[in-house]
Each structure stands twice: as structure tokens, then as C-alpha cells.
Point group: C2
DNA sequence: CTAGATTCGTTCCCTGAAGGAACTGACCTT
DNA sequence: AAGGTCAGTTCCTTCAGGGAACGAATCTAG
């Protein structure tokens, strides 16, 4: 975790980073998303320190991204599953994949392909405007102050959610 | 920078994180995107350590996300501007904003609003399939192995790009 | 011409986060 | 009872981040 807290800034980027901006967190999210959901599995898949993995999982559960679920009580066994909030966060992973595929994959090509259920084709994500459905990229928008502009430090984080 | 290098993993998420996954990097990108482009300006806007800011800027330039441009030579003054690669990376910021607005903004509402040039409306980004234009979320896809699946450690990073 | 002011960093020290390995504890299998 | 599996916790060392001071190059005021 970085020393400077991002969660109190009046910026949705900073507040998102506060939740999944720490090293390893997005990769943990990816693992849970693709079905690697148990502590031991994640640790081996990523090669992450067990200490850091335990910290990250606890933080993601506290922030409502993951849920710690007991799938066996007699030998007490747990798995981590995505909440609705966490599933929405996976959108971010898809956009990371797209950028990484384009600019870091090299000649070998993308390591993973995505087939869209609706059309059955191998494809990738594009950003569209929620109002007019046309492409909406960073260069296509004006930035205006919003209602929460002055609320730095006022948004409470409920540890249970 | 995290100690474990992500750049050599056969995963586009990890390789994207290698470029902008370090603490502060996405916020630096945001600042440059909104026009806060000089060292001093960024440092004051974010409250980041000058040492870390210098490291991050150097890394982003090495990786072709930013360009260090001299805008005055007599007093030697520099600014950082987005490359095409860096501009595409800003897509990621828009998706972060969307998630942060929905799940961390609270009652105060989003701190910033986005007006789409094409339609003139306040809106936000949605993820669509590049083939069929229908919504494409994390739950709408199957994951298949791609050509670069076995290329861990083989992708060269050219420091000049 | 010396004294600030501005911009863009670099150097220093201190704290704290990450890596890695060993350890714990609950339960199951043989 | 001996060993295996799972899910962490504890400990130590190293390295990255925070913060402040310093440096260099150039303009501006007096």
C-alpha cells in the first residue's frame, strides 16, 4: 500500500486506485475472475508473497470487491468470489487487456483471446458513449466540475461495505 | 515500483500494470491529460514527492507513454505531453472514473462530469463489443488461449519506445 | 553586478511496505 | 501417529516512498 492515501481525494480515479491500485490487486482480481479463487491457488499462480496476498484479500473484502465464502465447514475451507461491485471492476481489466494487447504483446500476439457471447466472435472492448452510442475516447470529451467537486475527505468509507 | 516485475508475464494485464501500475502513475497521466503538464505543476497538484515524480516521469517517457518536450530553450523549460500510446491509455482512466463515480462518490455525487463532443450530452463510457456493438462486460465473454500464450519473457522492451 | 525568483530536478535520511521462508492450527487420510 | 492440505501469521531483510534540503540554469529587480 502506498503511504499517501488516495481514498480521500475528490477524484474518482484516485478513489478507484485506493481500492485496487496497490501492486498485485488487479492480478488477484483477474485470478478470481477466471476461477482461481482459493488462497493457495492464487498464491501459486501469481508467485505472490503469502503475507501480501492475505493483506490484499482482506482489503478487497473490506471494500466489498470480493466476498470470503466458506465452501466447506468440516475442514474449514474458503474461497473468494466476486461481488457485483467486483464484477463491475473487471471492466477495468478488459480495458487493460486491450491496451496491453496493442502495445506490449509484440510479435507473439495476445496471450489470451476473448469470445463475445452475444455474437460468438473473437473481439475486444471499445468505449462508447452511454447517451449516443458513438465512440467516446479521452480526446472526445470536455471536462466540467460536478456536484462532488468539493467533497474531499467527506466521503466516509464503511469498512463493512 | 513493485519488486516483482510484471513486464515479463504472459498477461496483458500484468504488462499494462508494468507501465502504469505503480503508485501515482495513473494520477500523473490524468494530470497530463487535463493539461497539468509541467514538473512543478504536477508536484503541487498531487502533493507527490519530487523524487518519486521524477522516477515516474522518466519511466513513462522510457515506455513511450509521455514525451518530454522543451517548450523554451533560453530558460530551459520542459513539459510532458501524451504520445498516441499515452492517449490510448487514458481510456483506462475513463473506466476508472466510471467505477469510482458509481461506487465511491457517495451522496455528494461525482466530482467531475464529462460532456461528449459528438452529442453534447453529459454522459459516461460503456464497454461495447468491437464486432457486434452490443455491451461487452466481464460476464459476457469466454476466454481462450491466444498465440502469445507461451511467450513469457520473450517480449523485448525497447527503451526508446 | 549581486539578490531573489522560477523551473526542474538530485541527494540525503528515515520509515514502512514487499519478498521469502518458517511456523501455526484445524482438519483429513492412511 | 505420521503425513498431507489449506489458509493464513510471524519474522527478518531489503528496497521503495515521503520529505526536506540542495543544485543548476536562466530571467528580473534594484
Amino acid at each position: 500500500m502506498q503511504r499517501t492515501r488516495f481514498g480521500d481525494m475528490a477524484c474518482s480515479i484516485a478513489r478507484t486506485l485506493d481500492v485496487i491500485g496497490e501492486p498485485w490487486s488487479p492480478l488477484i482480481l483477474r485470478d478470481v475472475y477466471v476461477g482461481i479463487s482459493r488462497f493457495e491457488q492464487i498464491q501459486q499462480d501469481l508467485g505472490i508473497s503469502r503475507k501480501v496476498l492475505a493483506e490484499r484479500l482482506r482489503w478487497l473484502v473490506e471494500n466489498g470487491v470480493l466476498e470470503r465464502r466458506e465452501y466447506s465447514s468440516r475442514p474449514p475451507r474458503h474461497e473468494y468470489v466476486l461481488t457485483a461491485k467486483g464484477t463491475e471492476l473487471c471492466d477495468l481489466l478488459l480495458v487493460m487487456v486491450r491496451w496491453g494487447d496493442r502495445f506490449t504483446a509484440g510479435e507473439a500476439g495476445p496471450p489470451v483471446l476473448y469470445r463475445h457471447h452475444a455474437c460468438g466472435e473473437i473481439s475486444h472492448v471499445e468505449l462508447r458513449c452511454s447517451v449516443c452510442d458513438k465512440p467516446m475516447r479521452a480526446t472526445d470529451i470536455d471536462i466540467l466540475p460536478g456536484p462532488g467537486i468539493a467533497s474531499a475527505g467527506q466521503t466516509e468509507r464503511a469498512p463493512g461495505d
